[in-house]
Every structure is written in C-alpha cells, then in structure tokens.
C-alpha cells in the first residue's frame, strides 16, 4: 500500500551471505539471519547498506513451537529512505543472542526492554537490567505463557 519509495524488493547482494530465508510481503522485506551472525549482518547493513538507524528491536513469542522466539530488528535508512526487517530465531531453552549495541547505541534500551519482557539474554550488552518492570519482578510479562490477569 502506502510505503512510497521505501520498499527494498529483494535481498541486497551484501546481505545475501547472511540470509537464511527472505520474504517480501505487503511492501516490506523480511530477512531471516542466523542468530550467531546477527551482529555481522547488522554491521553490514549499517556500513555498506546505509541503515543508519535502528528503529526498534522487539520479539515475538511463538510458544509452544520451537524455536520459540523471533527477535525482530527494524532498520531504517534515512539517506536512502528505505526500511528493512531482520529476524533471528532463538530457542525457548535459555534464549540468548548477541547484542547489537556495538553497532547502534540505541539498541541499548530496546534490548533491555526485550530482556525485561521476554527474558531473552543479550550477550555483551553493557547494562542488561530490567527497564519496565521493577528489578525484583519474577517472570517475563510478554511471554505467551504469562497470564494476562492475576498471578499464577
């Protein structure tokens, strides 16, 4: 629909070596990368593909299927007016992925939020603490097995 000139139709050549799968749907490109190569892929995106901004980092809980978590990165290139979605899947058993704070400093809070609400650990993160919930909180509210009302 109204994506303007923002759409990247197919996986750029620089990103090809990292792409496991890709999907172009409703004017938006999603590229799935292996979780252990996410920092490399992001560095490539920021460097040669000019994605200067990290719009957001979030996660989707696919409970009970495995790999359980999708970690979603929305990238934005201000200079080329483009957007791209990167995705990495990690398992529900002690989920962890490398932090991209070394690539974009803005990932700091975004990853803290995912850590807090989904319980996904970001390795090499400079300050991985809860950000929304109180420090002593037990559980991760946005997981699908966390109740919406009351206490379990």
């Amino acid at each position: 629909m109204e994506t303007g000139g923002a759409a990247v139709m197919e996986v750029p050549a620089e990103l090809q070596p990292f792409a496991l799968t890709s999907k172009f749907d409703r004017g938006e490109l999603t590229v799935e990368v292996a979780p252990e190569r996410v920092v490399e892929a992001c560095r490539e995106c920021k460097g040669s593909l000019h994605f200067e901004r990290l719009s957001t980092v979030t996660a989707v809980d696919r409970y009970p299927s495995e790999p359980r978590f999708e970690i979603v990165y929305h990238l934005h290139s201000v200079s080329l007016n483009r957007r791209l979605r990167l995705k990495a899947r990690v398992s529900g058993e002690s989920p962890a992925i490398d932090s991209v704070t070394a690539v974009w400093r803005s990932a700091n809070w975004y990853e803290r939020e995912v850590f807090d609400l989904f319980g996904i650990t970001f390795l090499n993160h400079p300050n991985l603490r809860r950000i929304m919930m109180p420090d002593e909180w037990v559980g991760h509210p946005l997981r699908k097995d966390y109740p919406v009302e009351g206490y379990k």
Binding site: M1, S55, D61, H76, Y110, L142
Partner: protein, 410 residues
C-alpha cells in the same frame, strides 16, 4: 523539589565498576520521579561535581501498564481504544498509526474523505501536542504567561475533538476501515473559525519568546548534539530536523494522502534547544497550512470503507436488511479475521517516528503488537545530552525533547 541523597542503590551498582577519580566531592541528586520538569514520572539520577553533571541515568517504567500484552486479548477493533492511552497528548496519531497498520494487513482501501479527515485531525493533534510542549517548556524555563496563551488554543482544539468524537482526549475516532462517526454538523465553521486565527496566535507566542533575552540566554547553545550521535542513539522527529536533517515520514513515506498536501519541512542547523523551539514553531504554522488545505479541498463521499465484514453497517440497514444484521452480529461478537502476516507502519507523530509492528496469526485478535514510541528512543539520549553540562541546563534540555512518559513506558 528534589531529594538529595548521599547514595542510591541503583547507581551504586553502576559505580562499582569504575574507579573513584572524578573529584573529591561527588553528589548524587535524585531528580524525579515527581519533579515538575520531568512531565510525568521520570527519575533522573544525576551525579554531580559541583554544578556539573558527571553522569546521568534515566530510570523509566513507572507508567508501564502492559499495553502490548493487553492488545493480545482484545479484538482488532477494540484495541483502537488502547492506542489513545499510549501517548495521551497525541491520541489521534496513535489511532491513525494502528489503523493504518491493520488496514495494511487487511489490504483495505480507505475512501478519500476519511483520509482527509484523518489528516486534518492528526494535524490538529500535532498543534495540540506542540502547544502543550511550548507551554510547559516555557514554564519550566520561567516564562509563565506563554503557558496560559497556549492552553487557550489547546482548549479550542479539544472542543473540536469533542465535537467529532464525543471525547476531549481519549478520542478513538479513527477506526479500522475509516472513521467512527460521520463528521458532525457544523464542523467546518468550527475548524475554520479556529484555523483562521491560529497563525496570529503563533505570532503572539513568538512575540513573547523568540527575541526574549532570557529565553535566548537559557536555550541558545544548550543541549547540543551532533546529527550522527542522534541517529545512532535513536532520536527522531523535530530534534533531527533541528540538526539539519530534512526527514519526515509525511514526505518520505506518505500515508493517508499526505502526498496531496503542500507543506514544508522546517529545518535548522544549530541543533540546540533554541533551534528545536524554532522548528516546532514553524511546524505549527505548517500544520495550520495543512488543516486549511484539508478544509478547502475536502472530498465528498463515504467516511468508511466499503468492507461489510470489517465496518459496522449503518443502523438503518441493520434494521431492514438481513445481511447487514448478520455482519453486525459477527463483527460485534467475534470481530473480523485478519490475514496472517506482519507489518511495520511508521508515521510522523508530533514527537518523531511512531511505529506499530502488528503480527497477525489469522484470527480476530492481534498475535503481537509492538509500539515504537518516539519518546522511548529520544529519552535514551538524555545522558549523552546532559553529561558535562550544568544542572540548570538539564531542565531546558529535557524540555526540548518533548517526551511523554506514557509513550515511553507503554
């Protein structure tokens, strides 16, 4: 105003890693969560060496209400009411962004009239938000009267919102598939009456501030940041434009017919608090231009999409046509199913890039909704902006960010 503490548990843990070398008398000042200049409940832990800030650490989460979780148990149309409550100074921008995202998933075509009304009201929202920003920002710095002037105009905008939706603040006027109600009788005169005088009101604010020596003294050269740092730290919106970047989602990725309007994107290069003030003042004038154009060129036609499975039927049809009654029953009891997929819709809210990431699994409730509030990205840059500056400048710097804590904490 603020409590003075000698030690704070949150900062102690951060401190443990670094050596104590910055000076003999460092003090930790706990600004907020109830400080008037934090506009909500933001807690800033400031480590001071005299009056200079050595380290700043924002603590957020006081307004976290789990809205993203709440989305997952509401059906798509019900969830519109949640979006008002995220950024309570710009409810219609949030309504719009969410509706656009779901409409993109559904592949719905929105009739021109609904799109233009959406533009008109979203621009009034921008005015509303900027007026509150200007009033409170000025009051923080010490200019009391600007606040009263701004709230005079804001009141009229809220009355217009009430006229359209029945609500002053929690409007929920945009619905998936169009508008909640047909525009009310007499809305044109009301909006016209307001927008015709509004530019002269902006002149009044400028008379009070733009050449005011105290204002300039408190804002010029304060809170400077480079464009590279801003992009890297996640800042969007007027702050980027005050650093010289001509970036605005309304122009770059036009949505809801913004491409049919003629307006400018104001920029400045100084990237200080004063430049941000100038950018937002100019944005108000541009928004007024858009509203005037929307008013003059308002197309005729229906205010909802032709999609009986999504949009509630007219009351009259419901009473006379079997099919309409069935659709009504289905929509009210079950909602509508949204095809599987995921979209990220970004719009230009008054504060910067507002993004809704909506994931559908094919049912009538969203599987996951993530909201990227512009304030969340902006606030992250606070330490970078204030460290090394004087404590009095923190108030001006924070004010220039124009954050809303509801938008940050969600």
């Amino acid at each position: 105003m603020a409590d003075i503490e000698t030690a704070s548990p949150a900062l102690e843990s951060v401190d443990a890693a670094e050596p104590e070398s910055t000076g003999p008398r460092r003090m930790v000042l706990n600004m907020g969560p109830q400080h008037p200049s934090t506009h909500g409940v933001l807690r800033l832990l400031l480590e001071l060496d005299g009056e200079t800030i050595v380290k700043a650490e924002p603590e957020i989460g006081y307004l976290h209400t789990g809205i993203e979780k709440e989305f997952e148990v509401k059906n798509y149309q019900q969830a519109v009411t949640l979006t008002d409550r995220i950024d309570y100074l710009a409810p219609l921008s949030n309504n719009l962004c969410y509706c656009l995202a779901v409409e993109k998933l559904l592949g719905l075509e929105i009739p021109p009239k609904a799109q233009w009304i959406r533009v008109l009201l979203t621009e009034l929202t921008r005015l509303n938000s900027h007026l509150i920003w200007l009033g409170t920002h000025a009051i923080d710095i010490g200019a009391m009267s600007v606040f009263l002037y701004c709230f005079r105009e804001r009141e009229e905008i809220l009355r217009i919102f009430e006229m359209f939706s029945g609500q002053r603040m929690m409007t929920s006027y945009f619905r998936i598939g169009g508008l909640a109600l047909a525009p009310p009788r007499g809305w044109r005169q009301r909006v016209k009456g307001f927008i015709d005088v509004f530019p002269s009101r902006v002149d009044e604010y400028e008379d009070l501030l733009t050449k005011n020596r105290i204002w300039i003294g408190r804002t010029r050269g304060v809170g400077k940041m480079t464009l590279e740092d801003m992009l890297d730290l996640g800042i969007t919106g007027p702050m980027l434009r005050a650093a010289g970047l001509k970036q605005d989602a309304r122009k770059d990725q036009p949505y809801s017919s913004y491409d049919k309007f003629d307006f400018e994107i104001p920029t400045r290069v100084e990237s200080d608090v004063y430049a941000r003030y100038q950018v937002r003042i100019e944005e108000m004038r541009q928004s007024a231009r858009i509203v005037t154009q929307a008013l003059e060129g308002m197309p005729e036609g229906p205010h909802t999409a032709d999609a009986p499975k999504v949009v509630l039927p007219e009351r009259e049809k419901m009473k006379t046509q079997m099919e309409a009654l069935i659709y009504h029953f289905k929509i009210v009891t079950e909602g509508f199913r949204v095809p599987e997929g995921e979209v990220y819709q970004a719009i230009e809210s008054p504060r910067g890039e507002l993004g809704y990431y909506v994931v559908s699994d094919g049912t009538s409730k969203p599987y996951r909704v993530h909201i990227h509030g512009p304030s969340f990205g902006n606030l992250q840059a606070v330490p970078h902006m204030v460290e090394g500056t004087l404590i009095a400048d923190v108030i001006a710097s924070l004010g220039s960010m124009d954050f809303v804590l509801g938008d940050t904490d969600r």
